[in-house]
């Protein structure tokens, strides 16, 4: 029971981890991308369309499924869709200099609508269920069952779970330890100074938002192909907002967000593992992540430590000729 709980929490937290890692990279460049839930929905569209495309190339014959290609198609499509979402956001905010909150919220409205709209018209069939088997298993069954609880918790997941953790760690290293990360952070803190120092603010913001969008979109892929096992008629926007909350919770550090997402995921699925709770109590438990996030936000602003502050230029559009 407890092992199953931990295992499910890890699995569920992957959605948040992808979303928050992507959003942290985006926010480090000074872009407050409220469109992340929309981009995750776009990722879901990409995943389903990619898988559909692959199933069409093998004429829906589930015996012909090639494990590698069947994962690769949706993966690439998801990344493309997510990056397109980020590109769209950056085009409107960097090139057309629109307000980031407004563009982000529009992107979310649009993405959620498009998700429900398109996924309702994709013919499904058995192919998706078969294909999803290659998503939620990485290690063979014999290895997982022979190692007991350890295997159950740490080895019994699909490759996307490990990918999420690896991406979070890589993102942390890149942001904290490399020159690129230093430039990225300086643009998020003060774009005017960074511009004066010769950094291309637009380029960094475009790239960071696109990469962030692509990573966040993987959350949509994971949700549909792995967590739901290939059933596609669900949108992910609610989890997308939790990913945005997680960014604050993890004080803009992707490796903290590995643990943060685990906590969020555990709290979110806990009600279904506890017996004897009324429906009302379950709702209260689901509130805890948001309350904790507010607490973190307040506490970090109270203590005012430099390491835990939001990027100073977060949400501000940069126009070189202002003043």
């Amino acid at each position: 029971m407890f092992v199953a709980f931990i295992r499910n929490a890890i699995r569920f937290s992957t959605i948040f981890l992808f979303g928050s890692t992507g959003e942290i990279i985006t926010e480090k460049s000074g872009h407050l991308n409220m469109g992340t839930p929309g981009i995750m929905c776009l990722g879901g569209i990409g995943a389903v369309l990619g898988e559909r495309l692959y199933l069409l190339t093998i004429a829906n014959d589930v015996d012909l499924i090639n494990p590698f290609l069947c994962v690769l198609f949706p993966l690439i499509m998801t990344i493309i869709f997510g990056a397109l979402g980020g590109l769209f956001f950056s085009f409107l905010t960097v090139t057309l200099r629109c307000n980031q909150n407004v563009v982000g919220l529009t992107l979310t409205t649009f993405g959620v609508g498009l998700n429900a709209f398109i996924l309702a018209r994709v013919p499904r069939g058995a192919g998706f269920t078969y294909a999803s088997a290659y998503f939620y298993k990485l290690f063979p069954d014999t290895v997982v069952s022979s190692t007991g609880w350890f295997g159950e918790i740490f080895l019994g997941h699909g490759f996307l779970v490990y990918l999420a953790i690896i991406l979070a760690i890589i993102a942390t290293i890149v942001i904290k330890k490399t020159n690129v990360g230093l430039s990225l952070r300086s643009i998020g803190e003060n774009p005017a100074t960074a511009d004066a120092a010769g950094l291309n603010v637009s380029k960094y913001r475009y790239l960071a938002t696109m990469i962030g969008g692509a990573i966040a979109a993987l959350g949509g892929l994971f949700y549909i192909m792995d967590y739901l096992g290939g059933s596609v008629e669900y949108t992910i926007d609610r989890y997308g907002w939790m990913a945005v909350a997680l960014v604050i919770f993890s004080v803009w550090n992707p490796s903290f967000s590995i643990f943060g997402s685990l906590l969020f995921g555990a709290l979110y699925i806990m009600p279904s593992f506890l017996d004897g709770l009324s429906f009302a109590d379950k709702e209260l438990i689901k509130l805890v992540p948001y309350a904790v996030t507010i607490l973190v936000l307040v506490v970090t602003s109270l203590f005012n430590r430099k390491e835990t502050q939001p990027p100073a230029a977060l949400g501000l559009t940069y126009f070189r000729e202002d003043r």
Binding site: L92, C98, N101, G113, P310, A313
Partner: protein, 431 residues
């Protein structure tokens, strides 16, 4: 690393486009651009519809109209939706003018609705109906003010990021509402049902036999009040100054903290009014999805209306029109409910992009200009004669219309003369 970068940039190159900020557009140009945006957005939507259901290009416009204005009930529905959206946008406007990015309208409205529901459910029968309605209103406004003022206090005293704070408050509110609904309806159906269905205690009375009329009238009054508050009151002036620059505000002796908190009290109070109207005037029930994203749409309405209450009427109406018409067309084409959301998204994107062409001038480099000139000459060769022909025909028509509409235009010009349009947020220079 920086040295390397500098070297790269040392090669002098004429950038393709160089942007300069334009002064505020004339009202005439402004409304013309809005008109063009509507036309472009409608065309894009129609083309997409046509792609999904071939041959439906014309039908799209037909159903858009049929879904909104074919009966008096539908028309009233459009105005009711416009009213609610507008009221949410109005609630946000003072905060936004102060550059306090309150994206928590969804939660503030919902918690107000919770307050109204509590009063309606538990106080019904203990007092006369008029008093009950008043208590509902008071309680919903109180709840919303609390919800709005918590982030404001933290923003004022500790500079906590208000965007993220209010966003989280939305989810707390929707969770709390879900909790109370489950407490009141413990069987897990999450359906509270219509409150006081027989006695109609706490329901707003029908005006002239129409359900929503009282909502619409309230909103009209509030629109005027907010306009006056922002434009002619001392408070309105102070919050504008705080929005432009907190340092300036401090320098001229404005109490910034007090202004922030006071403005958010106002913002919350109007949100509470929306919650009250939704519960007592419209749905007479409560669920966690009562506001259904209108708190977020209201942000877009306020921003696209440039925080001018009268302009926001236009944007709110447009959103309500597209939502209702779009969902009607979606039903007929069997596109599902999400179809209207896609349309709304497209509309917003086109509007957002159109802002750019009003606010900035694109100065192209000489090479690009030469290229454009080539294209222009080419088209001039083709279309020149046609253009001259049309000019001949339409010049008299134009002169005629100008004669008619010039007085109307002058009137509107007067109305929008001192339009204070929002500038992009300046980078704060506090360090």
């Amino acid at each position: 690393m920086l040295a390397k970068k500098m070297k790269k940039n040392d090669i002098k190159r004429d950038p393709f486009i160089h942007l300069t900020r334009l002064p505020d557009p004339k009202a005439r140009h402004y409304w013309f651009s809005k008109l063009i945006s509507v036309v472009i957005a409608l065309l894009i939507c129609a083309l997409i519809t046509n792609a999904m259901a071939p041959g439906s290009f014309g039908d799209f416009f037909k159903y858009l109209g049929l879904g909104t204005f074919s009966s008096s009930l539908q028309t009233l529905r459009v105005f009711q939706d416009t009213a609610i959206l507008l009221l949410i946008a109005l609630a946000l406007t003072p905060a936004f003018k102060m550059k306090f990015w309150n994206i928590g309208a969804e939660g503030q409205v919902l918690i107000g609705a919770l307050g109204a529901t509590i009063a309606m459910k538990f106080l019904a029968g203990t007092m006369p109906n008029a008093l009950l309605i008043f208590v509902c209103l008071a309680l919903s406004i109180l709840f919303s003010i609390i919800w709005a003022v918590i982030p404001a206090i933290f923003k004022a005293f500790f500079n906590t990021n208000e965007t993220l704070f209010t966003l989280m408050m939305n989810y707390l509110a929707s969770g709390l509402v879900a909790y109370f609904v489950f407490v009141w309806v413990p069987n897990g159906s999450a359906v509270l049902g219509v409150i006081n269905p027989n006695t109609h205690d706490g329901w707003l009375p029908k005006l002239f036999g129409q359900d929503y009329l009282i909502n619409i009238i309230t909103v009209v009054i509030i629109t005027v009040l907010i306009f006056v508050y922002l434009k002619y009151s001392k408070h309105g002036y102070e919050l504008t100054v705080v929005g432009e620059s907190q340092n300036t505000a401090r320098y001229v002796g404005i109490n910034v903290k007090k202004t922030i908190i006071r403005t958010l009290i106002l913002s919350g109070a109007v949100c509470g009014l929306v919650g009250f109207l939704l519960v007592n005037g419209t749905s007479h029930t409560l669920n966690a999805d009562l506001v259904s994203g209108r708190g977020f749409t209201g942000i877009l309405v306020a921003w696209l209306g440039h925080f001018n209450p009268f302009e926001m009427i236009f944007t709110a109406f447009l959103v309500a029109f597209v939502t209702l018409g779009g969902s009607y067309a979606g039903d007929i084409f069997r596109f599902g409910t999400a179809y209207s959301k896609v349309l709304i998204g497209i509309f917003f994107f086109v509007f957002i992009a159109s802002e750019f062409f009003l606010r900035y001038k694109m100065n192209f480099s000489t090479e690009v200009q030469a290229f454009f000139k080539k294209i222009g000459d080419f088209f001039a060769k083709i279309f020149g004669p046609i253009g001259r022909f049309f000019k001949k025909i339409f010049t008299p028509v134009g002169r005629f219309f100008k004669k008619i509409f010039a007085p109307v235009g002058r009137f509107f010009k007067k109305l929008f003369k001192k339009k204070d349009s929002p500038k992009e947020e300046p980078v704060s220079k506090e360090e």
